[in-house]
């Protein structure tokens, strides 16, 4: 009986295996293309399917044979990348990565990456250089060498916005809030005047995202109105560069937030963890700071909210003005959040860069995003219309170059969304010196801060959350500032930050000169 069962189990396995052997995927034909250059490349975005139609088609178009190595999900991708990079045989020719600052330094030290400047200059069309401004390249340029280029560029300064539930405003007869006082008033009305009309006191004026740790961006409407972001360095009135958490204005913002929380205007999961899409779509919060994409009617969160409340309307508004009339949106870092490098595994780095350069065209962009015209999409009234389903699209491998490909814009955004992006970019870029992303490496240039960063963050989060939720007295704030200067060498940190800030300006001028002379493409 038992033996029979085991036997049948084995039979099933063999059957399944033979079934799979039968439908073996197509092997890329390599007979006629001895000249095709082989390029292995790591992928993070897109459907991450190996040996797809797209992969072959891309190879045909660029006269190359691609070997895509799929990186795993976000929690494990760095582990995989490190394993690939420490194995000289398995190292990809083209590496996509993000973060990994320390590893990147080690790759450069170990000679695993190739300097891209001469290679980019030698390409036929210079597509990549055409796209790269001096501002984009500056953060990655060091000592005359460029070992990585930013990809997924295309954001123009800000990807977030303050949102208000327009339908709630209308229902309660309120105006769009402009100042902090307005903001509190609207939040109060949203909390207490039953804007959803269900007769229950179950709404909150203000809420926001938390993915395991407090995301201070979620509180931007208040913090930025007072001038500084707690988790960013910025140029203070006195000319020094300070951590936003330590300036007196931040204390004022904390008091405002504390009073709002005390009144019950802030949705509490902003401190304990939630999912912003769920939070917005379940019709409980009236104002929040989040992705501009929520404004798009095709966006998932927007759709889900409308499915729940048909007349709901998310309205992005200008940033809230503080007591000094200052206002700002979250500025995106310059350059990008992810990069590609060419590794020493590439036998002919110039040929690899040539292929990459040819990749950044509108033609390849369309192939990546939509596939082949007539087969996978058609153009109606100047608009691109897909003719295949989402799953077919994935199985074809469309979108595989997501987060790698950059090039000319494929389709224009709807006008109201383009306008929103433009407006927010303006309000964000105006604040870049107060809410500052360092272009040069913080790791290399601010060792004192790096030493204490985790502890400072932990303490800031603990104290700030404690104050807002009323578990800690506001005097704890002064103790935090005290600890910052005395325990965590705050004065030294500020000195390093100020030096770095000033050096950036000088070095950027130098780089600009070099860029204009060597890299700029007319």
């Amino acid at each position: 009986m038992n033996r029979k069962k085991i036997l049948s189990l084995f039979l099933i396995v063999t059957l399944i295996s033979s079934f799979f052997a039968g439908c073996k995927k197509e092997e890329a034909s390599s007979t006629n293309s001895t000249e095709k250059i082989k390029i292995s490349m790591t992928l993070m975005g897109g459907p991450k399917k190996p040996d797809t139609w797209f992969q072959k088609e891309l190879g045909n178009k660029l006269n190359a044979e691609f070997d895509f190595i799929m990186l795993p999900g976000w929690e494990e991708k760095n582990v995989k990348t490190n394993l690939l990079m420490q194995d000289k045989d398995k190292m990809p020719d083209v590496l996509w990565f993000n973060g990994m600052g320390k590893e990147y330094t080690q790759w450069v030290e170990a000679g695993l990456l190739v300097d891209l400047i001469p290679l980019l200059k030698n390409t036929a069309d210079k597509n990549i250089l055409k796209k790269m401004t001096a501002e984009m390249l500056f953060p990655y340029y060091k000592d005359g060498k460029l070992y990585r280029i930013p990809t997924d560029i295309g954001g123009n300064g800000c990807c977030m916005s303050t949102f208000v539930r327009k339908d709630w405003l209308d229902k309660l007869g309120l105006e769009v809030p402009k100042t902090v006082d307005d903001f509190i008033k609207v939040a109060r009305a949203f909390t207490k005047n039953d804007p959803d009309g269900n007769g229950k006191n179950d709404t909150y004026g203000f809420g926001g995202q938390n993915s395991g740790s407090v995301d201070w961006r979620a509180f931007s409407p208040i913090f930025y109105a007072y001038g500084y972001a707690p988790d960013f360095f910025g140029k203070y009135k006195d000319g020094t560069v300070k951590l936003g958490a330590t300036v007196p204005e931040t204390k004022q913002a904390l008091i405002v937030l504390r009073d709002m929380y005390k009144e019950g205007l802030i949705e509490p999961t902003i401190f304990t963890g939630n999912d912003i899409g769920q939070l917005v779509s379940k019709n409980k919060i009236g104002m929040f700071y989040s992705w501009q994409s929520f404004y798009n009617p095709e966006d998932g969160t927007n759709k889900a909210l409308k499915a729940n409340v048909p007349n709901a309307e998310l309205l992005p508004i200008d940033p809230i003005k503080g007591p000094e009339g200052f206002s700002a949106d979250y500025p995106e870092p310059p350059g990008s959040w992810c990069y590609i490098s060419v590794t020493s595994h590439a036998k002919d780095p110039q040929a690899v860069v040539n292929v990459l350069d040819k990749m950044m065209t509108k033609e390849i962009g369309m192939l990546n995003e939509y596939g082949e015209e007539g087969k996978h999409y058609k153009i109606e009234n100047g608009k691109v219309v897909r003719t295949i389903s989402e799953e077919e699209k994935n199985n074809l491998g469309l979108g595989s170059l997501g987060w790698i490909w950059f090039g000319p814009k494929l389709v224009e955004d709807p006008p109201q969304i383009a306008k929103l992006a433009e407006d927010r970019a303006k309000s964000a870029n105006a604040a870049r010196d107060r809410i500052h992303h360092f272009s040069l490496s913080v790791r290399d240039n601010m060792p004192t801060y790096m030493k204490h960063a985790t502890e400072i963050d932990d303490m800031m989060n603990e104290v700030f959350v404690g104050i807002i939720t009323g578990q800690k007295d506001i005097s704890e704030y002064d103790k935090f500032v005290n600890a910052f200067y005395n325990k965590f060498e705050g004065h030294q940190i500020e000195k390093e930050a100020t030096d770095l800030y000033n050096r950036e300006q000088v070095e950027f001028e130098k780089f600009k000169e070099f860029y204009d002379k060597e890299l700029k493409v007319q």
Binding site: N82, M85, Q86, G99, M100, G101, K102, E103, Q106, W107, E109, A110, L112, N201, D202, Y204, N210, G212, S213, V214, E267, P268, T269, F271, T272, G273, N274, D275, K282, K284, R443, M450, A453, T454, E455, D457, D458, N461, E462, V465, G466, T469, Q471, K487
Partner: protein, 320 residues
């Protein structure tokens, strides 16, 4: 002179005897050595051949230079670990959380197994067993989402009930320092209790039913039978699992805590592993991680060996 000679002769004879005896022993047990051979080869190849990697705890490890080429730093990584300002706190939290889990989480499956054992309807028993082991298969990522959906103070199911009794005042389970550890223990038990009973159920299968019959005839009631027959018969398994479980005393459950903790409960929930993880995001703390790993291992090994010794001494069966 002659005395010395005799002594030396004796020694040689003894030596010959012992080596002969060893050889004879090996011959006698040759099949046993044969049985252990595959496992032993596996041990050498997959465990000891890679063991050199643990030296990175004493090195400034650079993965791209290689383990051997990375420079030695002695005990610097350990000093860094013990000197981080948060180390006493995270160490304390690790111990408290894992002790709580041990105290409440260890007996839980035993009690459940005893209760399951008393179910008379075999079908019902099997179904119950199968159902209670289901939560083990829901990963923490998903389970954390469910916990949030249930406990959040805005519209969580549990809080809707609480609000009825408190007049609309919800309780923030995830944001409350005083109950967060209990939450960790309860969810941990919830997820693991059914899975934990399996091994006890296997052990209970070995108990002779005649023992029960005899005891019943002698007038033992159900509870007496439970205490004097069932429990002693699974005691060896309990001891084994307890001693081996002590080895995990510094693993308070990274994934669970990582997915549930937040800044409001950080002072009571931050454990060694989560702290190292947060440091790692900022500065790729491989050496620190390796030092923490080795520290945990040494503590675990010592604890397990000591408890095993004690168990053997007081007449209980240790693990070895």
């Amino acid at each position: 002179m002659s005395e010395v000679n005799v002594l030396m002769n004796k020694k040689i004879v003894k030596k010959k005897n012992t080596s002969k005896k060893i050889w004879a022993n090996i011959c006698k047990y040759k099949y046993l050595y044969l049985l252990i051979l595959p496992g032993f080869i596996h041990l050498l190849v997959f465990r000891y051949a890679t063991m050199y990697g643990s030296i990175i705890a004493f090195k400034d490890y650079n993965m791209f230079k290689g383990i051997f080429e990375s420079p030695w730093v002695g005990f610097k990584n350990f000093q860094d670990l013990f000197n981080t300002p948060k180390f006493p706190l995270v160490m304390k939290n690790t111990l408290i959380i894992s002790l709580l889990k041990m105290i409440f989480g260890f007996p839980a499956p035993i009690i459940l197994a005893l209760l399951l054992n008393e179910l008379k309807n075999l079908k019902f028993k099997k179904v119950t067993q199968t159902v209670v082991y289901l939560p083990h298969f829901i990963s923490w990522v998903v389970f954390a989402g469910i916990i949030r959906a249930f406990l959040n103070p805005v519209d969580g199911f549990i809080n809707e009930i609480i609000k009825v009794f408190t007049g609309g005042v919800p309780y923030d389970f995830l944001g409350s320092k005083s109950t967060f550890r209990s939450l960790l223990v309860v969810t941990d038990i919830y997820k693991g209790i059914g899975w934990g009973t399996i091994i006890y159920m296997a052990a209970l299968a070995g108990v002779d039913p005649e023992l029960y019959e005899a005891a019943t005839i002698d007038g033992a009631n159900l509870f007496q039978r439970m205490f004097y027959i069932t429990l002693p018969s699974i005691k060896p398994v309990i001891m084994t699992l307890f001693i081996l479980g002590l080895g995990g005393i510094l693993n308070a459950g990274f994934e669970q805590i990582f997915l549930l903790y937040n800044d409001m409960v950080l002072p009571v929930a931050d454990i060694i592993d989560t702290y190292i993880y947060r440091k790692g995001i900022k500065e790729a703390a491989y050496s620190l991680g390796a030092a923490a790993g080795m520290f945990k291992s040494v503590i675990a090994l010592i604890l397990v060996i000591i408890t095993n010794k004690i168990a053997n001494k007081i007449g209980e069966e240790g693990v070895w």
